[in-house]
């Protein structure tokens, strides 16, 4: 239990047991974990926590608990019991799913009707809908389908004071009221607990092929990347991968079988004189492989697509100079994930260097996963936005007692 809490962990556990049932409450040291069954129980829990100054963090499968600043919460809300796909009116191409639902399990159900939520987050086999949405995770499919902001059409959230609020709706097009779900997406559980999400769906990809080009130097990819983004073909994903000295460029196209050869021919022209070879779908796991190593320092870098190759090269050279291992995956849209392994003590200096370099083009660097020793003196978020006071005010309005994930987000929100 945190030092500001007005009650002991034991009292807290007793109270939570009365809400969710004893069998769904666990006490480990000063932390109480409880697994509510629905939004109503979460509302009761939050009302209790808020009134007793006990901080609360929600947890799906815990894949991204290390992202952001550490939080020592008194109550861990285990969302595993909110795990159903509530509705899937497939002809409307929408679905409503509970936050604790496993991502892959949801996609398997949707796939029975040839549909999908067009997003490829990290750890789909383990991660939950709520965690992915709270962290605004996503992958290379963003090139064709956009991000969670474009795929979520409604949401149910529970606020710190126990209010259960709905936002958006179940139709694809809707401009009624404020889009609270956009505020909640990527807010890292600091404004409310997401209990249900409504998605718009896309047809599942069929006739999918991936090609890979190899180059001696990542700079050779600059022109193909520029041409690819300027082309009239419709790749669903494109990424540049660097593993120490090896540089590769993957492109995936999903279209009608009749169009596949034609698009492949155009792709070859874009990449000439580099060769394009048929490749495995497994290359799209690279992002996950990069973040999978718990000992690696992992950065997420947002930058302009036209900066991708130059910045990749700089990072590659920096790692070589430092004599440390490096793996990188850069999506064509300008989102890059980089992992460093070995003597990573100088990574904070690189973060500062990159932040300075990218400032002019409004890029940014987030330290996604870093060894604890490296956190000292490092702002993992790197948010110097002049909207930070407004963000703090939003937090204050939504959660005046700082009950929800206090300190985890930008500016220690």
């Amino acid at each position: 239990m945190t030092t500001t809490a007005a009650i002991s962990a034991k009292e807290c556990a007793t109270q939570l047991s009365s809400i969710v049932g004893e069998q769904h409450v666990q006490m480990v040291g000063e932390t109480v974990t409880c697994a509510p069954a629905d939004a109503k129980q979460i509302s009761e829990i939050l009302r209790f926590a808020n009134a007793n100054s006990v901080s609360v963090t929600a947890r799906g499968s815990g894949t991204k608990m290390g992202w952001g600043n550490p939080v020592d919460a008194g109550i861990h809300l285990d969302m595993k019991r909110l795990n159903s796909l509530r509705e899937h009116p497939w002809q409307d191409m929408t679905c409503t799913v509970e936050a604790g639902c496993n991502w892959a399990a949801m996609q398997t159900e949707l796939a029975k009707f040839g549909q999908m939520v067009a997003l490829d987050p990290l750890w789909p086999e383990r991660a939950t809908v709520g965690g992915i949405v709270a962290a605004n995770d996503g992958g290379a499919l963003r090139l064709k389908y956009g991000s969670l902001r474009d795929l979520i059409i409604g949401m149910t959230v529970v606020l710190a004071d126990g209010t259960i609020a709905k936002t958006g709706g179940k139709v694809v097009k809707n401009v009624a009221g404020y889009d609270l779900h956009k505020l909640m997406t990527g807010s890292f559980g600091t404004l409310g607990i997401i209990t249900e999400v409504n998605f718009r769906l896309h047809p599942a990809e069929t006739s999918v092929r991936t090609w890979t080009a190899v180059a001696g130097n990542v700079a050779e990819f600059a022109e193909p990347l520029r041409k690819l983004l300027d082309a009239q073909i419709t790749p669903s994903c494109a990424q540049i991968r660097i593993n120490n000295a090896r540089c590769e460029f993957d492109v995936r196209i999903a279209t009608r079988p009749e169009s596949l050869d034609d698009q492949a021919a155009k792709l070859r022209k874009i990449f000439a004189p580099l060769d394009l070879a048929d490749s495995s779908q497994a290359v799209w796991q690279t992002n996950q492989e990069i973040v999978d190593d718990p000992h690696a320092a992992v950065l997420k870098i947002s930058l302009l697509p036209s900066d991708v190759c130059a910045v990749s090269l700089e990072i590659q050279q920096w790692a070589a100079d430092q004599g440390i291992e490096m793996k990188l995956a850069a999506q064509a849209v300008g989102i890059m994930t980089v992992a460093f392994k070995g003597a990573t003590g100088t990574v904070p200096a690189l973060i500062q260097q990159l932040r300075t370099r990218l400032k002019k083009s409004s890029g940014n660097v987030t330290a996604l996963q870093i060894p604890d020793a490296m956190r000292e003196g490092l702002d993992v978020w790197g948010c110097d936005s002049n909207a930070l006071p407004l963000m703090r005010e939003i937090k204050r309005r939504f959660d005046p007692n700082r009950t929800l994930n206090p300190g985890r987000f930008v500016g220690n929100i």
Partner: protein, 484 residues
Amino acid sequence: MLPKNHIDELREAVGEDGLITGESQLQTYECDGLTNFRVLPGAVVLPRSSAEVQAVVRVCARHKIPFVSRGAGTGLSGGALPAAGGVVISLARMNKILEVNIADRYVVVEPGVINSHVTQRVTPQGYFYAPDPSSQSVCTIGGNVAENSGGAHCLKYGFTVTHTLGLEVILPSGELIQLGSATLDSPGYDLTGVFVGSEGTLGVTTKIILRIVKRPEVVQTLLAAFDSPQAAGQTVSDIIAAGMLPSALEIMDALAIEAAEAAVHAHYPVCGGLLLVELDGPAGEVEALMSEVRGICSKNGAEEVRVAQSDAERALVWKGRKAAFAAMGRISPNYIVQDGVIPRTALPRVLTEIDRMASAAGLRVANVFHAGDGNLHPLVLYDRAIEGQEELALDLSYRILHLCVDNGGSITGEHGVGKEKQEALGYMFSEPDLNTMQLIRCAFDPENIANPDKVFPRTRLCAAETPGPYVPHPLETAGIAEIF
């Protein structure tokens, strides 16, 4: 009217030629595209820069003067309706395209830039700006941002929010902030996503970073004639079920076809339900999909199926569709348009119910809609000269919105809530939902001066921030507002 010292401060902010106070000139600004609501503002300012907008908003903040920002005034829900005696900030002079970056696929514009001018500017490089509201040749990007405007092609390409990367915003306090940026995933809350579609209630946008899209290799537009909109609606469901995502799927009923034909002679087939399907993308893909669409249309009993053979023919098809509202003047002295949304599968039963309700009210309702995303545009036709008919028409139009909500939909898909649908928002959302939205409003605009008394069913005031004994606000005492 505004006191002289306020007017003087506004003059100082925008200069003599940027200030309008004469009553006859002010009347130009007394309404937007929703003309049955009219309010005279106290002053209109025409700033030329972010700094001038900031100076104006500071004056408003200092004296707690309500302000309403305005683009071209084409909005259909009264979003730009002035606050009585308040300030209208017309952004018409801030109409420059500031930056075009083809390599990174974005442009930076001022809010007064006309929607279609963005596309015109990047056409030579083979790009376009995707959101295409029917008013795109006159409406402004600032207004599009306020309303989160859509258009016929948002089924595939998304709405204004999909294409807004970042914003420069003057908060109601007069503070200038940047939200989002040309790069993705700026750390922090997605305030760009929240601001877009907030209908001018959270501040004034003075700069917008827009995503631009590469023009597809091929565009094909098919017209299919059915005996009823319901049959056309079933075809839409079948196209979607076949795993296709056309760039547009539009339906017009017999009345709408008649009006559009009379206005622009689009050479539409004479039928009970006209379906317009547009596919775009790589040539091979479009060809394969179009043949599938033709098959689905035939299976559903299409009487005539034809594909526009030239760009000119396609442009004419769209001209007819986009002129459908204005064309109603050809068949009715007055009309009310709503834009409720329903789940696609509810289309046949909702259309049947609208027919029934119209007959019972003794009124005609024409239907033009974005069928792919279930966004209806029922046009309730009436004659103001006939006593009591306007009230009947208004009542019917609101009942149609309730019907949409009852069927799991929304009261508005693209026009916004504005002044017109405030009460209907209360039908769609519960009190806790509305109170939660109000938290955002209070964080941005604690004094409630940015486009006040819009969107929400009744005025809600933000809790007083100053310590001391509680003193009820006069509006609260009068029973017309409550402290939140």
